[in-house]
């Protein structure tokens, strides 16, 4: 299909994500019905109510799920044909650290992605130590994950996600369960990363200086543009919805 080749040209090789006419069912109901999106900016925020499709979009990009129909190009790769290669291109960070840290020690956790790329274990461990040192966490390797604070755990998750060197980082509300100071300091670290970042968040303040906001509503794009345009509209929309619900949870 010509759409795939066109998307590849548009998004370029280094990073970039393009979805063309993507259809996806969630359970028995359709979620995306012909979604078109080209995501090339460095930092993109995803907003929308629970169930609007933010998580599904992130999952499609990492290859955790495949669309029923349509084309997705991620960092120059067709998401269907290269599903196996996507985890190396798209690091994924979830909200709950306890759902995603798989190993008892920091070093093993960070080295896992490298070992999955086919590096021998010793080299993967050495690579993990180098990455930790480069991010001011020298000496963390031996530490037990259980002894870390919540913010430190999420930092480990982020480092584990970027360890294989993906050009893209997909994040599903990565800072939601952290206190404000920790959120801000992690956000500053994220800003310094070379990766293209795609972050779903309910904390609109965090997204204020992103390059672009995509607002999803029931699987469709309801708003798309710079934060100063989209965020106020989204906020007003949600407040109006809460008011009409009159105390009943939506």
């Amino acid at each position: 299909m010509a759409g795939g080749a066109r998307a590849q040209r548009e998004s370029g090789e280094a990073g970039g994500i393009a979805l063309r006419d993507v259809w996806l069912d969630r359970g028995d109901a359709p979620l995306f019905r012909g979604l078109d999106l080209t995501l090339g900016e460095r930092r993109i925020g995803l907003v929308g109510a629970n169930g609007s499709g933010k998580s599904s979009l992130l999952r499609l990009i990492n290859g955790l799920i495949v669309p029923a129909r349509g084309e997705i190009t991620v960092a120059g790769l067709d998401a269907r044909a290269h599903r196996r290669d996507l985890p190396g291109r798209v690091g994924f960070v979830f909200q709950n650290v306890d759902h995603q840290i798989l190993f008892p020690t920091v070093r093993e956790e960070v080295a896992f992605g490298l070992a999955e790329q086919g590096l021998p274990r010793a080299e993967a461990r050495a690579g993990a130590e180098r990455l930790l040192a480069a991010h001011g966490c020298a000496g963390w390797g031996e530490r037990a994950v259980e002894e870390l604070s919540e913010g430190q755990k999420q930092l480990v998750c982020i480092l584990a996600a970027i360890a294989p060197g993906p050009p893209i980082l997909a994040m599903d509300e990565p800072l939601a369960s952290l206190d404000l100071a920790t959120r801000l300091s992690l956000l500053a670290r994220l800003r310094a990363l070379p990766q293209q970042i795609l972050m779903a968040s309910h904390d609109l303040d965090l997204l204020a200086d992103f390059d672009r906001i995509v607002w999803l509503e029931a699987g469709a794009v309801a708003g798309d543009g710079p934060p100063r345009e989209v965020l106020p509209r989204y906020r007003a929309h949600e407040m109006a919805r809460a008011a009409t619900a009159a105390g009943v949870l939506p």
Partner: protein
Amino acid sequence: MMSSYLPGHSPLHRLPAGAKLLALAGLSLLLLPADSALLLAGALLAVLLAYAALGRRALARLALLRPLGPVLLLMVLLQAWAGDWSRAAVGAGFAVALRILLMVLLADLVTLSTPMQDMMDALERVLRPFERFGVAPRKLALAVALVVRFVPVLLSAWRAREEAWRARSTRRPALALVPGFLAQTLRLADHVADALDARGFGRPADRPSPSDKRTMP
């Protein structure tokens, strides 16, 4: 971290894990026919001295063996009963109890002086030849790591449930907590499987992928 390993630099610590495991297997075979209570008591004393040499924390571990006491006592009594309470039967009973205690202490000595990772590495080496029969040491190592990682997570989830119970009830937490805890564990498993998939573990190639898996982007 959760482990029975005691960090240290004793000669026992410096021995490779494989050598210790082989020695343990050898000793267990050697001790099998031993039935002199005196000999066994002497060996037990030697092992206790080894514990003492490892320091106070090693000796403190002996307290964990307390539940073994009643079982060993029961064994001696059963042995005596089987031998119509003769002196020889009681003596034989004690010899058996001593030998079991000795083996348990020897085995724990290996555990005490060997980090879990070294133990796992030794196991992986043993399993490598079986790889062609479908045994996957890499998957096994991952599974072991997951257990060690998630015991504390599940333990605190259980404690949170106990606390929620106590906040609403004056009765002691009961088995009513178990089903919800099981459901929570299975939900957690779904999330963890997702996280593992997101990092490319065991992802199937829908079509053969032309790019080399080893190249770093």
